[in-house]
Symmetry: C2
Subunit: 140 residues, 2 copies
């Protein structure tokens, strides 16, 4: 399942529908010049950007504010060897506008961790790619 052959590419609307089904995705970025990945719970904003709520002092904010990152979510079933994955790639930034921050406090994601100095990270959905793996054994 590590190359494109045999996958069905998903269009943007399918990708967004699938992202809406799962609570957790993974922010992919660079830290200390090494590839880094952090699972986070998230939600989608009305413009399809990915919203993550964290602490203003978190390592994540320092690492990704203003930087292009990838955000990945997936679901796979080992029994049927089927599933899907979606990757959103775009610039991440901490939301600093007070009115926008207030709006996200109401409609944005909760955090699964107790945090102080709430800050929201927005990942712009500049590029959304997705693929679906169906059980090919039945067709072999």
């Amino acid at each position: 399942m590590v190359h494109n052959d045999g996958f069905r590419a998903l269009d943007r609307q399918e990708c967004l529908r699938l992202l809406g089904k799962v609570p957790v995705g993974r922010v992919v970025y660079t830290r200390h010049a090494l590839p880094a990945v952090l699972p986070v719970n998230f939600s989608l904003d009305t413009d399809s950007s990915v919203l993550v709520r964290t602490s203003a002092r978190s390592d994540l904010v320092r690492a990704v504010d203003g930087v292009v990152v990838a955000f990945e979510a997936d679901e796979f079933d080992a029994a049927t060897r089927s599933g899907w994955s979606v990757v959103v790639t775009g610039r991440a930034h901490a939301v600093t506008d007070p009115a926008e921050h207030e709006r996200l406090l109401r409609i944005g994601p909760d955090s699964w961790m107790p945090i102080q100095d709430n800050v929201f990270i927005r990942i712009e959905a500049t590029m959304i790619t997705g693929r679906e793996l169906t059980d090919l054994r039945s067709t072999r």
Copy 2:
């Protein structure tokens, strides 16, 4: 859940035990100077390195052979807001030694996709970090 506070750090043995529970993880690397992530099914070798089976012509081999990558696996339960994640960081390389390739054909991971020109990618477990998130609401 995006910062360390409140997580329990997992030791290397706990990380390896958890990695053995899940069939799919995610290779985190750089492609065209952008962060990239690809879900793959995998297995652990006797030296704890991560093994992935793919096609010799796959984009993944070209992108990661000889490069330090991250490999992430996790399990989370939205109902209890609990779960774990493990990240292996180390150099990836395509296995070229014929005897080693033969050994991995026997004991290495299958591929969930039909592939030609089987090649195994080994990700050295140079650094293994993991953390566990327990349901904190019951302790609040």
